[in-house]
């Protein structure tokens, strides 16, 4: 399990670098970037249960907040919640195939966006236009990328998944 934690931390760090570094601005389409930290959060919840999902989401979200202008916790809380929820369904309920992954990431991103917007309204400054400008485009982008990323993560965590009996 230590191996899983270390690899997850590595993936979260690399994802944060990709999202934060300006040389990766080319991945921005229609003004939005994919949320790679969020995708690994959902993957961890989906594959290894609520605990792993929420810890990845919380840790990744705090990193995200630390390099963003967002107040600490605004990006961490939605990721934590979705990581927890993804773990409640998991591979035993939602079978792993491309359609399921795309749909799951799309719905999860919409949910994350709604939670972020809600928190922004309460604690910061919310704009309803972000549903059209941010949430929906990001959901499409995350959903399109997710099968490829899930495939890569499946390869990385192959040993662990075999032990859990998923592969």
């Amino acid at each position: 399990m230590i191996y899983t934690y270390l690899i997850t931390a590595g993936i979260v760090l690399v994802s944060t670098l990709i999202q934060g570094h300006q040389s990766f601005d080319v991945i921005r389409i229609a003004g939005v970037k994919p949320d790679l930290i969020f995708i690994i959060t959902v993957y961890m919840g989906y594959s290894f249960g609520s605990f792993n999902g929420e810890v990845t989401g919380f840790g990744g979200g705090l990193l995200h907040d630390s390099i963003s202008n967002s107040p600490l916790g605004l990006m961490a809380l939605p990721k934590l919640a979705i990581g927890f929820l993804a773990g409640m369904f998991g591979r035993s309920v939602l079978k792993s195939n491309i359609a399921t992954i795309i749909l799951m990431i799309f719905v999860a991103t919409i949910l994350k966006g709604i939670i972020t917007l809600f928190l922004s309204y309460i604690f910061h400054q919310g704009m309803l236009t972000s549903i059209i400008d941010v949430i929906i485009p990001e959901a499409f982008y995350n959903a399109i990328l997710s099968p490829m990323l899930f495939f890569i993560y499946d390869k990385i965590f192959q040993g662990e998944l075999e032990r859990e009996g998923y592969l």
């Binding site: 760090l13 300006q22 929420e54 919380f58 630390s66 390099i67 202008n69 107040p71 934590l80 704009m127």
Partner: protein, 287 residues
């Protein structure tokens, strides 16, 4: 203890949720900033390390691939330099005339500010908040609320202000962020207004509270008013691209395209000017 272990996912969820809610509630307090600072401090070496590696590789590669381009640029620069040398004499004459006229009119000499160059090492990691992190911090004498400018070609324009400073890193809040508030003047008649970012993932700004009677046209410049004490007056921000006259509002709204393309910002200059304390405090109170 057994209960905690058995229900560790729910316990962790509740604990982390509480942490986030408390942190969001006390945002801006020392506690939040200190904690965020610790995380940022741990993570910043990775960012800087990656930046150094990427910069080094780019420079190494440029040594081979861009030699011809550099040679051409050198020729062009020399030609420009000759032109500018010719202009120097004219410029001195205009400067002296300007000084003489200013003294005749009894105007104070315009303040010149020292500026520090910096490189962008990170930009917004998400689609909600606009962030620019640069490689200069308190070690270089940078403090919060210093204005930041950049050049696009030969045009200098405001891109934001410093909102957070660490040892060798600072965070900029760009003018396109919906969180920013800058007092501006619009057009040749200098109608006053308040500039903010247009939307979370837009590269445009908007100016509110412009009187309906103001005659504003496409391309009119937007400059800082200097009224909040952060930005010096007369710094260019952008140009008008659209005006809106909502029937329900006593004001008109202007959509502004910043002079500096946010996606192209690589090098910035921090103006070493601390906010005018009284003005700044008054503005903060009003907000």
């Amino acid at each position: 203890m057994e209960f905690l272990i058995r229900h560790k996912s729910i316990v962790t969820f509740i604990f982390c949720t509480l942490f986030c809610i408390i942190s969001l509630s006390v945002q801006g307090s020392g506690f939040t900033l200190t904690f965020e600072g610790i995380i940022s401090g741990i993570f910043s070496p990775f960012q800087k390390g990656y930046n150094a590696m990427q910069g080094g590789t780019s420079r190494f590669w440029a040594g081979f691939s861009e030699l011809d381009r550099v040679r051409d640029d050198l020729k062009l620069t020399r030609a420009k330099l000759e032109t500018y040398e010719g202009l120097d004499e004219d410029l001195n004459e205009i400067r002296n005339e300007n000084l003489r006229l200013r003294s005749l009119l009894g105007m104070k000499e315009r303040l010149r500010y020292e500026s520090i160059p910096a490189f962008v090492i990170s930009k917004d990691p998400d689609n909600w908040f606009r962030t620019v992190i640069i490689n200069r911090g308190s070690n270089d004498g940078i403090t919060v609320n210093m204005p930041v400018v950049a050049y696009q070609g030969e045009t200098k324009a405001v891109i934001g202000k410093i909102v957070e400073v660490r040892g060798s890193l600072s965070r900029i809040q760009p003018v396109i962020s919906p969180d920013v508030r800058i007092g501006v003047k619009v057009g040749e008649s200098k109608y006053p207004g308040l500039l903010t970012g247009y939307a979370f993932n837009s590269n445009l700004c908007k100016v509110d509270y412009i009187t309906r009677a103001a005659q504003i046209k496409f391309g009119d410049p937007i400059v800082t008013s200097g009224q909040a004490g952060v930005f010096p007056p007369g710094f260019v921000i952008g140009t008008v691209v659209k005006t809106e006259l909502p029937e329900s509002s006593p004001y008109q709204k202007i959509i502004v395209r910043p002079v500096i393309d946010y996606n192209l910002i690589e090098e910035v200059f921090i103006i070493k000017k601390n906010p005018d304390k009284d003005l700044f405090e008054l503005f903060e109170e009003m907000q």
